[in-house]
Amino acid sequence: MRRGSFARELLRRPQGAFGVGWLALVVVAAVVSRFWIPLDPFDTDPYSAWLTPSLAHPFGTDSVGRDIFSYVFAATGTTVVVAVASGVVATVVGVGLAALGSLTARWVRESVAVLIDVLVAFPTLLIAMALAAAFGGSLTVVVVAVGIGYGVTIARVSRSEIRQVARTDYVLAARADGLGTASVLRRHVLPNIAPVFVVQLSLSMATSVLAEAGLSFLGYGAPADTASWGRLLSDLQKFIGVHPGSVVWPGLAITLTVLALNLLGDAVRDASDPRLRTTRRPTTDTHRLPTTPGVVS
């Protein structure tokens, strides 16, 4: 597939444009926050507690006078690191198990299938809390838990997809052209399961953002000296009856990011599948009859 046409297809869709736009903003903020943050997000000042939004404090301040905008800004780094790391772990676990579970000797692939089914039964958040209870809360725990939890889901879905594609006529035709197992996997199987894989990957990244926020909210995730949307939400939530407006900011950041990841996954799937593209390049079908004017349905 040509790269230019893929990017165009992606951005043409509202979901794709929103997903790319918002996530680009988050990633840029994450990079910038490594070097510059408007105000120190951990700098407390009791005299400026609960300031309403203003130019100096766009999102206002919290109970101890911390600038909420700076805190939300600084926490983008945590979110991006967790989402990307979880995505990488989930991909390695998922594709590895799927390949082992579909293209190997019968007893290997069936044992792997059972293993996958057992692991899928554990809820991701439960794995995360168990790991946090055992090893203490940290971002690594979140990444490992979501990576494994979603990795097995990816493995299960990809495994059945690989097996389905492996049975198609075009794979048989490719083998009749002389392709070996590895080339068939690379040239025909993976491109055909990519759409499904991309959706699962985006879901795993969205889950990791939610899981990090949820675990940090409960105190199992990011340590106290690391800015995190979940931790901020937890801090502000205690005062929700008095200052309900402040909770909106971390809540909005989490919601928009998760939404952007989900929508982007769908858009990438649609844009990468030539059959789902809505723009049609001109067909050169000389046998097709000209359309009669007036009978266009």
Partner: protein, 259 residues
């Protein structure tokens, strides 16, 4: 290139799907293999390719120019496939990868068996597309299978099978999924290319009318065995075995309906 199949038996889960089949395709000849569905036709072509499904066992002998294929190492077979033996499949809707542009699929056997650059492969694909009569080959090689008509897709399949000028072409019901008009066009194309390239052809079908246009000799297959063989004309006009007569009847019925 000659193909000699001798006493081929294919067993799947204890069932004999091909039972002691012997068949010869002399160099440059066009031989038909005809039978009802389930008679073991496709299994025979897959056995020649060494691509029988998991759990299938084949005994007997399949020799290509005197070289034994049955039991040959996979590496050796993979090298023959697509280079020396070209294959055209039945249904052009499913035999092409939906997410790969057709030009890259046509050129796949070239890129696989010879070290050629992406650009040269494309040039070969365009030439092959032109040779099989695809309109506007420069543009069509960049299209995806769903953007082509059924007949065009089967032309792609034929271009793919013939691009390396194989010595033997296996055609597994290549016209069955096409409508009658397209069928005639594709058959004419097949005939022309096989003549030009002096390729040996094993043409598998259930349709005697189709076979009459392309093959000289044919073997009639039923339940994995050859029940009758001879010149196609003779099978068509003086069928001896009940299965052959049934196929002739079926051909008459469809021909009448079509005309």
């Amino acid at each position: 290139m000659s193909l000699v199949i001798d006493d081929l038996t294919v067993t799947i889960a204890g069932r004999r799907v091909v039972d002691g089949l012997s068949l010869e395709v002399p160099d440059g000849a066009r031989v038909g293999l005809i039978g009802e569905s389930g008679s073991g036709k496709s299994m025979t072509t897959l056995a020649v390719l060494g691509l029988l499904p998991d759990g299938a066992q084949a005994t007997g002998s399949i020799r290509l120019d005197g070289h034994e294929l049955l039991g040959a190492p996979e590496r050796e077979l993979a090298d023959l496939r697509g280079r020396v033996v070209g294959t055209v499949f039945q249904d052009p809707r499913t035999a092409l990868d939906p997410v790969v542009p057709v030009g890259r699929q046509i050129a796949e056997p070239v890129r696989l068996h010879a070290r050629v650059s992406r650009r040269d492969a494309r040039v070969r694909a365009v030439a092959a597309a032109a040779e099989v009569g695809l309109p506007d080959p420069e543009t069509i090689v960049d299209l995806y299978p769903h953007q082509l008509s059924g007949g065009q897709r089967q032309r792609v399949g034929i271009a793919m099978a013939l691009i390396n000028r194989p010595g033997l072409v296996l055609a597994d019901e290549p016209t069955t999924a096409l409508d009658v008009t397209t069928q005639a066009e594709v058959l004419a194309l097949f005939q022309r290319l096989v003549d030009e390239q002096r390729t040996s052809l094993l043409f598998v079908t259930h349709d005697l009318a189709v076979l009459a246009r392309i093959a000289d000799h044919a073997a009639v297959l039923a339940h994995g065995r050859v029940v009758e063989r001879g010149p196609v004309e003779q099978l068509l006009h003086r069928p001896e075995h009940a299965v052959t007569r049934g196929l002739v009847e079926a051909t008459r019925a469809t021909t009448w309906r079509a005309s």
